[in-house]
Symmetry: C2
Subunit: 227 residues, 2 copies
DNA sequence: CGGAGTGATACG
DNA sequence: CGTATCACTCCG
């Protein structure tokens, strides 16, 4: 039945409800928690959780979770453009990560495609979990499934484990896409591959990304790794 | 002349301009700084600075410095009601601090009056400085000047220093207003005066204030103090 | 522009 | 509701 305190939320698709609960005691007494409920009744407690569920079907970049309204002012955050766009318009190397999405046919390597530009947030840490929550980007994931089936190098790595020093950089950088990125880099550029070197990438990826290198932290191949 | 990038700001009085400057390099490249300019051309870099200058002539409690617009959502912060309002509606003792602002005539004790409710922020530390910047609250300060002139106890304390353990709690709690609060408490209540006891007052004064005690930290009168 | 301080978010 | 982490504000 219609629970009291659950209001319609015009900024979201029909059927979504919003609820605000005031904290009654403790150090945070008087503050409030905001929840959203999908048409099916599932409860959402944060904007990232909501964004994961809605995927690309709804653009939440200007959505204010607390008020439940679209706030054009929120565009502040995502206003970060890649540094190269502003300072080196069309100069430098071909840019491995952002220009890779060329032909989507006939390649033995999975294409990173929307990987970076897809993520609203700026988070850098590789977030395990996240793999739950279901919906999200059904289509491009399916596009890649066919390719994965015949992707040999993935098998190889799976049985030997990735070297410790080789870690992903950037949001949602799974082992598989990381491997793809490195493999692609090896094949599309003759320059040495070092990974991202600046510590600033951690702080502001949108600006500091070295787009001539794959999305992984700086690393060196040790003797142990070669053995 | 009209500098480019300085826009009118409808939320402020006529003649005020706003400017946004994007940071070009460093760790914070891509972020921006917002400035305001008074009709006379003075530059303002923060909301507190702006509030100090405008004083009570403009209510900035819902003013969003970054966007330059009034945001009713900003009222979230000030929405804290005193705990008693919610849990003990109209119960308990007379409430020394919040009910004191009675007659503003004929009292040898300065009345705390707008002391707490006047401050938008929740800051607790006594902020020295601030005394510069000029304008600000000309009128109510003048109202009190007359009373100060004939306020004897203030003189007394000034020449003997306040005991170390007796410190103010709450924003803008000057030595004078603290004294007033204690003195008022002594005269308006027969209950023992202990000061604020809960450590939570530091974290969330609006909620945790023990309104039956004056706005000062808990203290005990030591033998040294009596001597 | 940097960075300490402060407040808000996100999830346990 | 607590609290680690993150993001932003304010001012040097």
């Amino acid at each position: 039945m219609e629970k009291p305190g659950r209001m319609d939320c015009p900024a979201l698709p029909p059927g979504w409800k919003k609820e605000e609960v005031i904290r009654k005691s403790g150090l945070s007494a008087g503050k409030s928690d905001v929840y959203y409920f999908s048409p099916s009744g599932k409860k959402f407690r944060s904007k990232p959780q909501l964004a994961r569920y809605l995927g690309n079907s709804v653009d939440l970049s200007s959505f204010d979770f607390r008020t439940g309204k679209m706030m054009p002012s929120k565009l502040q955050k995502n206003k970060q453009r890649l540094r190269n766009d502003a300072l080196n318009p069309n100069k430098g190397k071909p840019d491995l990560n952002t220009t890779l999405p060329i032909r989507q046919t006939a390649s033995i390597f999975k294409q990173p495609v929307t990987k970076v530009t897809n993520h609203p947030g700026n988070k850098v840490r590789s977030d395990p979990q996240r793999l739950s929550e279901q919906p999200r980007q059904l289509f491009w994931e399916k596009r890649l499934q066919g390719l994965s089936a015949s992707d040999v190098s993935e098998q190889i790595i799976k049985s030997m484990e990735l070297p410790k020093g080789l870690q992903g950089v950037g949001p949602g950088c799974s082992t598989e896409s990381l491997l793809s990125a490195v493999a692609s880099a090896l094949h599309t550029s003759s320059a040495p591959i070092t990974g991202q070197n600046s510590a600033a990438v951690e702080k502001n990826p949108g600006i500091w990304l070295n787009t001539a290198q794959p999305l992984c932290r700086a690393f060196v191949v040790t003797d142990d790794d070669i053995r």
